[in-house]
Structure formats: structure tokens, C-alpha cells
């Protein structure tokens, strides 16, 4: 498959939009990647290989009808040309059988963008040796991925957007025989053996805290420092029953009470959607651009919601370039004034939470979330690490965790890149601080 996906995007965009008849309008979104994966367990290769893929999503509008379809592309120019043309023809035949779309929102944006980030990645034949070699002696488990990832969007109003990046990610954990582990990652565009070795050395040092006997906590309320890595799991919830305008209007959001002024979060808490992080494109599938920065929560109150064009049409509010799922992208959380180096001292006696696991709502309307502690969570007494805790379940409203119980936010923030690879390697990430919470409810 070609590495020049931009050329292929231009060709399929020209074919798809060029097939449209008078009265028809369209938008296309495109994704492609050339990826190498290596899964490892116990410092040995479990599965490895390469994946090349490209797919196209086409949305068509004609009169009051709206229809979308997705196609896998073969990479062969002539074959893909036929596939696109045939799919447009099938859509054209089917659309008269659909009811009218009451909130049809045809994109009018006609801007263009082209962002390309090249990388220096490992030769595929060297991946096992250079990823597993430095971790020799560790019970080292996780996945390595690398390669080119592309996203494109175009519409019949003239928008043309392109984003491509070459990245790598070692997403790993190192384990002790007692079942405790340190989770970490090494990600970027320019692979460095020296930087990677430093990361592994830091992991080995962190493991030293975990060799002692685990401490079993009783259910109750504990002071807790929640690291940026752990907070990343919470941030996932900002897009699930979250800050989309449609979800708030239609009763599915966890933040209806916040919107209606019945609840508030701490003045210390705020976050924005911020594409200046440079980890994902600001355009959506319809070729509409979001503003580079949009405050969502400021000083503990909702400043803006995510609004897609369809919701804008339904409720008569301005759109702000959100995708149809109205999820927050590229989250940048406001920094505070606690130095990370002072985190243990600030805890005093309590829990240092390195990672959370498997969060879900206990009660959406109360923004109440349950989850587990995971990996290297530590018991701290008088500002000193005592040892690892046995994993605990917690259950807390975000109106408490990010509200009355939020004591401090760190000055330092960490850019955590998206590691998900469902269907394709995801782009995106979040810039997050750590937070100090007084009275986190541990339940089991």
C-alpha cells in the first residue's frame, strides 16, 4: 500500500464529491495507517506483525434526506475508484426510502489545513531486540506500536483538511512476583534508545517501592493524591454522558445539575478543549474546524458545551465544530499551585494513586463514579511511602472529587497520548495535572 495517503485521499475525495449531481451535497472523512505491532508478555513476544488499512466515510445530503456509508479501501487506485462510485450509486437509490431528516445540517465550512509530522521510527526487523532488550530481567508486559497515521476530511462546500503523523508507543507494565506492577509508557515521534533506557531505569526504581507486603485498607474516606495517569481515566468520562449539548438537553448527561446551577465544582477545577496540544486535528468528519481553544469548565462552572451542527440546528444554538458524538477532544486541564515534588508531604497520611481502572457511573445524575485502584498505588504516612496497597474500589461523585473535596492541583502537567487501538490507532491525548483530594470514598 502506498505511503502517499494524501494523494489517495485527494483521489477518492475527487471521485466521491465529483460524482454528486445537482442538488446533492457530500462530506467525506478518511483514515489510513501503516502500523507495526508487537505484543509482549514476560519480556517475550506474544504476537507481532503489520497492518495496512485505509477507509472512507461518505455522508450524502439530498433534499431533506441524509445518509452515511463507510468503505474499506484496497489501496489500488482503479479498484477504489470503482468502489466509491458504486457506493454513491447505491446510496442515491436508497435515499428516497428514508424519512426526512428534521435536523439536517449540511456543512458550509470551506477552509483547508494540512499538518504533517514525520518521525524517526525503528526498522521493523529491529523492534523485538530494541524494545525488549533494555527490559531484560523484568517481567515486562504490554504492546509496542508504531507507524504512520492519517486523517482527512473534505466536503462539497470546498473544505479540505489533512493530518498525518508518524508515532511510536511502548505501553507497558513491569511486574513483581507478588503481583504488584508499575505501569508506564514511552511515546513520541523520534525513537531514542537512550531516552527509552532512562524510562526503563525509572520503572525499575519505582518497583523498589512494591516489594514489601501489601497493606489492606478498610473501607472509608482517605486523603488521596491522584496522579495525571490516574486522572486520565476520569477524563474519559468527560466525553461519556458528558459535556455535549445534546446529552444535557436530552437527559443523558451527568452534568445537568451543573448546568442548571444545582451543583458546582471547585473554583480550582477547569479544563479546555485545546488543539494547540498538536496531537490530533481540529477538524471533524464533516470538514468543520473547531476553535483552537474552547473553555468547557472554568472556575468550577460550565463555560461552554460541545455543540455539533446537527444539535445547533435542533436547538438554535451556535455550533463549535464538535463531532456528532459531541465528545471533548484534546483536553487541557488547568494547572494549580501544588508542586509534584510536594505531593507526598501534601498527602500527609493517605493514598498515592498511580492508576485507576475500569470506571463507570454509579449514578449518572449525581455524577457519581465507581472504579478501582490499580498498579503502584501506595500507602503514605506522615509524607513517607510505607508500601503498596491492595487494590480498593472507590465510589465518589465528581461533584465531590472535583468539587468540595478538591484540595489542590499540581503546577506540573503531563501530556498523555491516546493509546487506544480499537479498529485503528487513535490520535489525541490530554494535558493533565495531578490532584489532591481530601476524603475519597473507598468502599470495598
Amino acid at each position: 500500500m502506498t505511503k502517499d495517503f494524501k494523494k489517495r485521499f485527494d483521489a477518492v475525495a475527487a471521485r466521491a464529491l465529483g460524482e454528486l449531481l445537482p442538488g446533492e451535497r457530500g462530506a467525506i472523512s478518511y483514515s489510513a495507517e501503516l502500523s507495526a505491532f508487537m505484543r509482549f508478555n514476560g519480556g517475550k513476544v506474544r504476537q507481532s506483525g503489520s497492518v495496512e488499512q485505509a477507509d472512507l466515510s461518505i455522508k450524502l445530503w439530498k433534499g431533506a434526506k441524509t445518509y452515511s456509508f463507510m468503505l474499506a479501501l484496497s489501496g489500488d487506485e482503479a479498484e477504489d475508484d470503482e468502489r466509491v462510485a458504486e457506493a454513491v450509486g447505491k446510496a442515491r437509490a436508497l435515499m428516497p426510502l428514508l424519512p426526512d431528516d428534521p435536523y439536517q445540517a449540511v456543512p458550509e465550512a470551506a477552509g483547508s489545513s494540512d499538518a504533517r509530522y514525520s518521525g524517526s521510527l525503528l526498522p521493523e526487523a529491529e523492534i523485538p531486540a530494541r524494545v525488549l532488550g533494555p527490559a531484560a530481567g523484568l517481567d515486562f508486559t504490554g504492546v509496542y506500536s508504531q507507524g504512520l497515521v492519517c486523517r482527512g476530511a473534505a466536503n462539497s462546500a470546498g473544505a479540505r483538511h489533512w493530518f498525518q503523523t508518524e508515532t511510536f508507543l511502548v505501553d507497558y507494565s513491569a511486574w513483581l512476583p507478588n503481583g504488584r506492577a508499575v505501569k508506564s509508557s514511552y511515546a513520541g515521534r523520534e525513537w531514542s534508545d537512550a531516552e527509552y533506557a532512562k524510562r526503563i531505569a525509572a520503572t525499575k526504581r519505582s518497583l523498589e517501592n512494591l516489594g514489601v507486603e501489601q497493606i489492606a485498607l478498610e473501607p472509608g474516606k482517605y486523603r488521596a493524591f491522584i496522579t495525571a495517569d490516574a486522572l486520565a481515566e476520569v477524563v474519559t468520562f468527560f466525553s461519556w454522558n458528558g459535556f455535549g449539548e445534546r446529552g444535557i438537553r436530552q437527559g443523558e448527561s451527568a452534568y445537568i445539575a451543573l448546568r442548571e446551577g444545582r451543583e458546582s465544582m471547585s473554583p480550582k477545577f477547569g479544563f479546555s478543549q485545546d488543539f494547540s496540544l498538536g496531537v490530533e486535528p481540529a477538524f471533524n468528519d464533516d470538514g468543520e474546524l473547531a476553535p483552537e481553544r474552547l473553555e468547557i469548565v472554568s472556575g468550577g462552572r460550565i463555560a461552554n458545551t460541545l455543540v455539533c451542527s446537527r444539535t445547533a440546528k435542533q436547538y438554535g444554538v451556535p455550533a463549535n465544530g464538535a463531532g456528532e458524538d459531541e465528545g471533548v477532544r484534546s483536553i487541557s486541564m488547568d494547572a494549580g499551585d501544588l508542586a509534584e515534588a510536594d505531593a507526598l508531604k501534601a498527602i500527609g497520611t493517605g493514598v498515592y494513586v498511580s492508576n485507576f481502572h475500569y470506571l463507570n457511573w454509579s449514578d449518572v445524575q449525581a455524577a457519581r463514579v465507581t472504579g478501582m485502584t490499580r498498579f503502584a498505588c501506595l500507602w503514605v504516612e506522615d509524607g513517607r511511602i510505607v508500601g503498596p496497597i491492595k487494590d480498593m474500589r472507590w465510589d465518589e461523585s465528581l461533584y465531590n472529587m472535583l468539587g468540595a473535596k478538591l484540595e489542590a492541583v499540581t503546577k506540573e502537567r503531563h501530556l498523555l497520548v491516546a493509546s487506544e487501538t480499537y479498529e485503528r490507532r487513535q490520535v489525541g491525548g490530554s494535558l493533565l495535572p495531578g490532584i489532591l483530594v481530601d476524603g475519597l470514598s473507598f468502599t470495598l
Partner: protein, 481 residues
């Protein structure tokens, strides 16, 4: 399918001559999705995906190259790439594999269907809009949604040792949802959870009369929940209906029994397991009433098939017998690595991901207690329906699950409706407190296409069937801040 997979296999074999074995696994997926919201059109989406994974075995190490380019040249390039990866990993693998984990199976399987001819989109939307009308049980309903998804997965496997597998799985899913609001109270009710009603079959599954009746009930129950008291917080007997048992089995039995989790493959992502390899054959997982089967032969259940995606023939196996763990969920690779028996469950989300241990159909076998007798035997309990929240630790011990709708059981009778019912516990303690298993009359099958696992990540469809069950001494609680 239009391409000759044997011809493509020849191309791969010519390109990777040093490989001691080569296999091709082609997967074509096509699906349509229709949704109405508040009685009007919301979405109509269709999609087609198609590609092939070329696998090679070199010096005891498998590796893959996956491509959507189904030309002989494209498949040859994928084979070359796979060979490079296999050579790079040779000697560093978790196990030295051989061809015995890629059987030379000859299997043909297709989902039994009564109605094969599609209903046109206008007919589907006619049902969806009617369903929204039925969901709108009163002015307090602030949102109604109805959805139909239908699709098929077509598989072909061919290998240099003679595997010849062709399977077509057809499925349909329906979702019905109502959101109700009164003052500050908001409640959401669905028919068996989001996408829980997903099954294999044809268009006969779009039973408009039955689904519209369900929609009417769902809307009425959403409004009923607005006036219900919150679930009490205490310990009592918990009765779970099959549309919550689906989740309970999935999270606290299925995942812990996956051999790849037990031997550590998933520790960095989905997690490990509290079960050890040495437990298989002796561990008392639950009470004597607990019988769990892996059963890919149940007609209509979502994960029925003839062979898994490495060509192992699928047959029903009992995993937990009278409460004792006798077998775990692992395909031929995991069986070879762990040295224990397993099942044919090495499956992949699509052509671009390698097969790993998955659940398939995992069912709790019916017992002999009627629903009425079960309720009559409970002095203080709560019955919960329909999953809405799920969370469990990475070893699958400490769980907390929430449901949409609860009913108190007092002195052997179902009495008042409660909202926001949740419960929590520890897996093996919970299953050892299984105190009643419903008879075949209470048995129902559900499925979900949403099981996530694996690195790189894979989402998979699984089926779960269960009778109504009762568990003693469970911590239950309600909502609120």
C-alpha cells in the same frame, strides 16, 4: 466471495518460501444501522469492510501481515512483511509453536435464518418511528430512541496444511430507550440494555409487534421510576433477571476464565485473573447449583459458529460443573502454553487483528426452581433488571454493577419498585452464595457486540444465556451524591 483464497494462498506461499506454514484469514463485514429519535429520522448508516490477514510460522514463531489489498501482489507483500516480523521475533517468543495449533479443518457454517429478504429502509423506519411513539408513555418522557442494526460477518480460512473454513454469521440487534424527567429526577430505561438484544438470525428478529409492546412497557417503566424510592442500602437476597445475569456472567465468570488472562497476556490492559492454572479441575468457583457452559451451538445466540478463527472445531463444553471449575476458556495456543484443556475460542475482531481468547457463548445452565417459587422463598430481597453500569477490578474480584429497575421482595412477594439499584461484591464469594437457579421457563439469551480486550485492542460480539438466579447476602445500595 469473489476472490479465490487458494490462489491468494499460493501468492503468499511464493512470497514467503522460508515459512514452514502459511495461513490466510479473510473477513468481510457488512452492516446497516438505522436510528430514530423522538419519532423522527436520526441516522442511517451502512458500511463494508474487507481484508485478509496472512500468518506465517517461522522457527516456532507466528507473525502476521494484514492488508485490504486482495490482489495476489498485495497478499504477497503482506506475507513478506509477516515473514520479516516472524524472523525478528524468532527465539524471543512466549512459546515455540508448531502447526498443531492451526488444524487442517474443513468447516462450512451459516446462521440459520427464517426470513432472508431484507425489509426496505422505509419499512424499518416505519417500525422505529412507531416504537418511539410507544416509548412516549407521557409528557414526562423527554427523549425516545429506537435503533435497528443488521449485518453479516463472512469468514474464509485457508492454509498450507489444508484448512478450508467458510462461515457466514448473520445478526440483528434492536435497542429501545426512553428518558423521563420529573423535577430534578431523571431516569433512563431500555429494553434489555443498550444493544443487549443482539442475536444471530434473519429479518424474523424484527418482530415489530413484540418490540412495540416492549417499547410501551419501557416508556411506562421510565415514568414509574420517577416516583420510585431509591434502592435501600443493606445486605439482602438479590434476584437477577437474565438481562443482568448476562453482565454478571460476562464480567465475573467469562473474563476470569480466559486462559490468556490467567497466564498474563492481558495484565497491561484488560487485566489478569484471580484464577490460577492450577485451579482448573478443582477450584470451587460457586455453589453446587452453578453450571456454566461454553456453547457455540445454540441457534440464535450471538456467538454461535462452526469453528474459531484458527480453524478449531467448535463444540459445547462444560466449564463449571456443580460449582467446580473443570475447564477454562482458551484456544489451541493458550492450551499449548498452559498445558490445560480449553475450547475453540481464538477469535479476532476483524482481518486487521490477530485472534485471541474470547468468550463466545457463555451460558448458565437452567436449574429447577420456578420464578414464583424463587420469589416466595425470599423474606427480604430485591430483584434487579437490565444492566446500566459495570466495573470490576483487573483480577476480576471486586465488582460493582448497577441496574435500571429494581423491585423489593418482602415476605415472599414482589412489592415496591426502586430506582438506581446497585450491588457490589467479590466474584467467588458472590457465586458461592448462588442459592437458587431458575428453571427453563426463566431462561433467556442475550448478546452484546461490545466486549473490549487485547493489545492492539479488539471489540468482540459475545452471547450469554441464563435463567433467573438468586444470591444470598449481597450488599445492595441506591444512588445519590
Amino acid at each position: 466471495m469473489q476472490n479465490d483464497i487458494r490462489r491468494l494462498l499460493d501468492s503468499a506461499a511464493a512470497a514467503a518460501k522460508e515459512a514452514e506454514w502459511i495461513g490466510l484469514r479473510r473477513r468481510r463485514t457488512s452492516a446497516s444501522y438505522y436510528m430514530a429519535r423522538d419519532g423522527a429520522f436520526d441516522q442511517a448508516i451502512a458500511g463494508v469492510d474487507d481484508g485478509v490477514m496472512v500468518e506465517v510460522l517461522y522457527d516456532g514463531q507466528f507473525a502476521y501481515g494484514a492488508t485490504p489489498d486482495l490482489s495476489p501482489e498485495g497478499v504477497a507483500r503482506a506475507a513478506e512483511s509477516a515473514l520479516v516480523a516472524a524472523k525478528a521475533a524468532a527465539g524471543r517468543g512466549v512459546h515455540r509453536f508448531d502447526r498443531s495449533v492451526r488444524p487442517a479443518a474443513r468447516v462450512s457454517y451459516e446462521t440459520p435464518r427464517i426470513r432472508k429478504a431484507p425489509i426496505a429502509p422505509d419499512g424499518v423506519f416505519s417500525f422505529l418511528i412507531d416504537a418511539c411513539g410507544a416509548l412516549k408513555a407521557g409528557d414526562e418522557i423527554i427523549q425516545t430512541t429506537s435503533m435497528v442494526e443488521i449485518g453479516r460477518y463472512d469468514y474464509e480460512i485457508a492454509s498450507t496444511n489444508g484448512a478450508d473454513v467458510e462461515q457466514s454469521l448473520h445478526y440483528m440487534g434492536t435497542s429501545l430507550q426512553a428518558v423521563a424527567r420529573r423535577g430534578d429526577v431523571v431516569q433512563l430505561r431500555t429494553a434489555n440494555g443498550p444493544r443487549g438484544l443482539t442475536r444471530q438470525g434473519g429479518w424474523e428478529l424484527l418482530d415489530a409487534a413484540k418490540l412495540t409492546e416492549d417499547a410501551r412497557r419501557v416508556g411506562a417503566e421510565a415514568i414509574e421510576l420517577l416516583g420510585a424510592e431509591t434502592c435501600p442500602s443493606d445486605r439482602r437476597t438479590l434476584v437477577l433477571m437474565p438481562d443482568q445475569m448476562m453482565l454478571q456472567i460476562h464480567e465475573s465468570v467469562g473474563h476470569p476464565l480466559e486462559i490468556d488472562r490467567i497466564i498474563g497476556d492481558e495484565r497491561n490492559y484488560a487485566g489478569g485473573s484471580f484464577v490460577k492454572v492450577s485451579d482448573i479441575g478443582s477450584f470451587q468457583y460457586g455453589s453446587k447449583l452453578m453450571n456454566i457452559s461454553y456453547d457455540p451451538t445454540v441457534a440464535g445466540e450471538l456467538a454461535s459458529y462452526g469453528a474459531d478463527e484458527i480453524g478449531d472445531l467448535a463444540e459445547k463444553r462444560l466449564l463449571i460443573e456443580n460449582g467446580t471449575l473443570v475447564r477454562a476458556l482458551g484456544g489451541l495456543e493458550s492450551q499449548a502454553r498452559a498445558g490445560v484443556p480449553g475450547v475453540a475460542n481464538q477469535r479476532a475482531s476483524s482481518w486487521n487483528r490477530p485472534p485471541i481468547d474470547r468468550m463466545a457463548n457463555l451460558n448458565l445452565e437452567p436449574g429447577d426452581t420456578s420464578f414464583d417459587a424463587m420469589i416466595a422463598s425470599i423474606e427480604k430481597g430485591v430483584l434487579m433488571r437490565t444492566n446500566r453500569s459495570w466495573s470490576i477490578d483487573d483480577y476480576r474480584n471486586k465488582f460493582q454493577f448497577g441496574c435500571e429497575y429494581g423491585t423489593l421482595i418482602e415476605d415472599g412477594k414482589l412489592t415496591r419498585t426502586v430506582r438506581d439499584p446497585n450491588y457490589r461484591g467479590i466474584s467467588s464469594t458472590f457465586w458461592r452464595n448462588l442459592c437458587a437457579v431458575g428453571d427453563a421457563g426463566t431462561f433467556a439469551a442475550f448478546g452484546t457486540p461490545n466486549c473490549g480486550k487485547g493489545e492492539p485492542n479488539q471489540v468482540m460480539f459475545v452471547g450469554h444465556a441464563s435463567p433467573v438466579c438468586a444470591f444470598a447476602d449481597v450488599e445492595v445500595f441506591g444512588g445519590g451524591k
